[in-house]
């Protein structure tokens, strides 16, 4: 599935854009462009220039999912607490230079109408649409991109970084003209397009030079003084506050901050706001196939609530038009199912990108050499895996939803490997016993528990977080009973999330659990297949060695892991998607052989809640964060059917 990204992506990029321009010629000739009724007033009063002047030369023409829609309506949804910026990222903010198509297969043009990658994969040339405008009417040009790059080169400015701040592969920008610019990297890079298309690729297009420049000393000599006067310690602090990037919460606390998105801030998300609203951006640069300016929906109204119960009731009461986040849980499913009639909404299917309901990561870098050796022993992990009665867990906790599954790519993924996904998943105490023998564990003691090779008692403490995923508590309770029945003495240590992270560098934890990321976004999120980053809890010190982030705890990895790292480095620099996938497959092969992380079960499909009169919502949706569902399904072309 990944194989059409990047390289081929470029080609399609150009083709598509070409096609679009053609279409645009036709459409603009054929039928006059439409705008939302709520704008007519403003235009006739002269407060707003006519549509033609607001739209770019070649607006992005969007193919509606079902049909061309009608203007109007307010999309009601909810944020959990004031800092739930992820939901805004998933609805409003996803408009980068490029974006993923609705199948998460191709990278398609967005703000950039086309791009080119040099053969050595060092130089990326982008062509922006002509006449793009921020929602305040000022033009969006290469200068804005340049500004973002420049800002992130400031050592004192704390930005999200990403490829702009990657020390291993510094990047420079060359502005060719108003609409053309180049990224020039020191080393080849193959993952740029994916980063730009993902939710992390928005920073580069989120800062208006004209507005944000005023807080930036090089552009405004008095910036520092003004910041102090405004009560900020430094200009950086004020910049972060007034001009936050991409999806940062406070970005939506400042109504003056220019946007390129379909909706713009109306009632800001301040610390004590009990709701946030967005209103249509009159300068939005997308049209439907009949040339109607998007979005169809006038407003977004997000209730800010810390109470899941309130949100649940609101949804049941039909006061939510579209939402999946927070409330669409397994436990609530029957509730929402029964409520459809009364609440006049429907349940749609979500296919999670996650490949597992829970992964158990034994700490192969344990500070205690004995335990390190034990946990690093593949047979030991195999034994544990065989002691899990996965079907029982699935039946009890997930009402029979899902199937036994290891930490492996999802069936929908091109990297899917049934053997990898299914190995050691059958409940088989004998096999387990054999495996433990092979791992050199001592005989069971009086309590019926296996002992350390030296005969000393073996007790394993698994760190869990009950707060983060409620079903984890239930799963761990069952797993504890199952393992103990199988002869492994397990202690559950339910701790606060911060501690969870504090313990990692220290390395004195037996095992931690987490969710199954990387089921579809295999290349971007290989944490369970190889020691790729701090989230690879099973080999934290190896990843430290790999990333050079925390050198004090870095350790040289096992040969196979090192081999994976080499492969991944090659992958990063490979321009050709097909070759990247090939490298990834090799990494996965190594993962399969060494079986570092134990999985439990494949998550059943999730669901979203949508009012019956809300249209153009495709089904099923792929659900991920890098692919920030539902944004890739173009909410700006959703609409409320008149009934």
């Amino acid at each position: 599935m990944d194989n059409t990204r990047g390289g081929p992506g470029n080609r399609t990029g150009r083709i598509v854009s070409g096609a679009l321009t053609a279409m645009l010629m036709m459409s603009s000739a054929a039928l006059a462009q439409q705008q939302a009724p709520m704008l007519d007033e403003l235009v006739s009063s002269g407060a707003l220039p006519p549509l033609e002047e607001r739209l770019p030369a070649n607006p992005l023409v969007v193919e509606p999912v079902e049909s061309v829609g009608v203007y109007g309506g307010t999309w009601r949804s909810a944020l959990r607490g004031g800092l739930d910026n992820a939901w805004i990222a998933r609805t409003v903010a996803y408009d980068g230079l490029v974006r993923y198509d609705r199948e998460w297969k191709e990278i398609v043009p967005n703000l950039a109408e086309s791009w080119e990658v040099s053969e050595d994969a060092r130089t990326y040339t982008f062509k922006l649409r002509e006449g793009l405008k921020w929602n305040n009417g000022t033009p969006f040009t290469s200068a804005d991109i340049e500004f973002a790059v420049q800002l992130h080169k400031e050592p004192t400015y704390v930005g999200p970084g990403g490829f702009l701040r990657n020390p291993d592969n510094p990047v420079n920008i060359e502005v060719v003209d108003e609409t053309t610019f180049r990224f020039v990297f020191e080393n080849p890079t193959g993952v740029l397009m994916d980063e730009l298309a993902s939710v992390n690729g928005l920073t580069i297009v989120s800062l208006s030079k004209e507005y944000c420049g005023q807080f930036y000393p090089p552009l405004n000599p008095n910036a520092s003084e003004e910041a102090k006067a405004a009560g900020f310690e430094t200009w950086e602090a004020m910049m972060l506050n007034r001009c936050a990037w991409a999806t940062e919460t406070i970005r939506f606390a400042n109504p003056d901050l220019p946007f390129m998105n379909a909706w713009m801030v109306e009632e800001p998300l301040t610390g004590n706001a009990s709701r946030v609203t967005f209103v249509r951006n009159p300068y939005y640069w997308k049209v439907d196939t009949e040339g109607n300016q998007l979005p169809y929906i006038d407003r977004l109204d997000m209730r800010v609530s810390d109470s899941l119960e309130e949100l649940t009731l609101m949804a049941l009461n039909g006061e939510i038009d579209f939402q999946d986040r927070h409330i669409a849980t397994v436990a609530n499913q029957p509730l929402f199912f029964d409520g459809q009639e009364a609440g006049d909404y429907r349940l749609g299917e979500n296919i999670p990108s996650s490949m597992n309901t829970m992964t158990i990561q034994f700490n192969m870098n344990h500070v205690d050499p004995v335990r390190r050796e034990l946990f690093a022993n593949r047979d030991f992990r195999i034994g544990i895996s065989h002691l899990l009665d996965r079907q029982e867990i699935i039946d009890v906790v997930f009402t029979g939803q899902g199937e036994p599954f290891q930490a492996a790519p999802r069936p929908e993924s091109p990297f899917y490997d049934e053997e990898m996904a299914k190995q050691y998943t059958e409940f088989d105490p004998e096999a387990a016993d054999a495996a433990f023998k092979a791992a050199g564990l001592g005989e069971k003691n009086g309590d019926g528990f296996y002992t350390m090779p030296d005969g000393s008692p073996l007790q394993i403490t698994i760190d869990t977080i009950s707060a983060f995923r409620t079903e984890w508590t239930d799963m761990m309770e069952l797993i504890q009973l199952q393992l103990e029945a199988g002869g492994i003495d397990v202690e559950l240590n339910n701790i606060d999330r911060t501690l969870y992270y504090d313990k990692r560098p220290l390395g004195d934890y037996d095992a931690q659990i987490w969710q199954g990321d990387g089921g579809l976004d295999v290349i971007q999120e290989p944490r369970y297949y190889m020691p790729s980053g701090p989230e690879s809890v099973w080999a934290f010190r190896w990843q430290a060695w790999f990333n050079g982030t925390t050198p004090d705890v870095a350790e040289e990895p096992a040969p196979w892991a090192k081999q994976q790292m080499d492969l991944y480095n090659q992958l990063r620099e490979e321009g050709d998607a097909a070759k990247r996938d090939e490298l990834m497959k090799q990494i996965l092969q190594l993962a399969k052989e060494n079986f570092p992380v134990i999985g439990v079960s494949l998550p059943g499909n999730g669901y979203f809640i949508a009012k019956n009169n809300m249209r153009n919502i495709p089904e099923p949706m792929l659900h991920a964060y890098l692919f920030p569902t539902p944004a890739p399904y173009d909410p700006f072309q959703w609409y409320f059917a008149a009934e």
């Binding site: 649940t312 436990a331 029957p334 509730l335 029964d338 009890v396 339910n494």
Partner: protein, 379 residues
Amino acid sequence: MAVETMTDIPVSTPIKRAKRESQTALMWRRFKRHRLALVSLWIVALFYLIAILAEFLAPHDPGAYSARYTYAPPQGLQLFSTDENGGWRFFPHVNGYSTEVDREAMRRIFVVDPEIEIPVQFLAPSDPYLLAGVIPMSVKLIGVTEARAPFYILGADRLGRDLLSRLIHGTRISLSIGLAGVTLSLFFGIIIGGFAGYYGGWFDSAVMRVIEFIRSMPTIPLWLGLAAAMPKDWSALQTYFAITIILSLIGWTELARVVRGRFLSLRTEDFVTAAQLDGASDWRIITRHMVPSFMSHIIAAATLAIPGMILAETALSFLGLGLQAPIVSWGTLLQDAQNIRTLASAPWLLAPGVCVVIIILSMNFFGDGLRDAADPHGR
């Protein structure tokens, strides 16, 4: 006037003594008069009995789960059964379920099927266990004869665990927890508050500052902070007892303040001055004369404190600071029930809430009865 009074004719003294002897008896008699209090006393006693006999009374192990019976509704317990010709016979049994899984809605649908009659046996044999952790036993008050047959008198929770059994075991934890804290805060409250109010002066003001200070901290952040600072290797139970003690260290202030206030106004009363002039020791004056004179308040406060502790436990659990699974307490059980899904489709899981209400009601009535009985100038 050289005229002697007749109060000192020897007849008056014995009367007084006679009164004092019968004080406790009198109190008990007064207490019995308070019907509600008497009933409550029995209820409280019953609950504590349940707490002690938990293992014997609970039909299942509180942790035993069953995939087939998640959210199974209560079966109830029938003692009689009708045979075909409509006659009644004594046949304790529960009705089985017919179940199906609704894939679309992701749930099991249960229908209690009166046809299926699962015989229930009193004093049913069971796997051996230790009653209250000491007495080895292998019989339970009640159980089903055929193994693997569903037996959920009060229904099952989301993991198909028997609510009744969990409730019974929860009783043990929740009730035991209240006592410790309350006794502690009572002790501190009376001693410190008493002396502060009695001596006044710098000691009083010092104590008052401390109290005022402790009291002016809203408890939730205290709990949050302290819970986070608790050593991580402690078991949930240890942690909770620690928090209980912390609670009582905050709780004593309330009592101390009441006591002190009373003392301040009592100091001026004649009988105290009298006692002082008699040369009675301060300790004696406080314990013998002043404390009894508002025993009622102390009792009222104490009875209010125990339920307070129980409620505190539920509140803590709500914040995720209280006990954590797999430990079973009313608090953790309530925590499970704190969502719309439960309210809507498994209301029987609110049973712990009912228990909390009942025990707190009875404890309050009980204390109220005591209060009136202990009242020095009762009618």
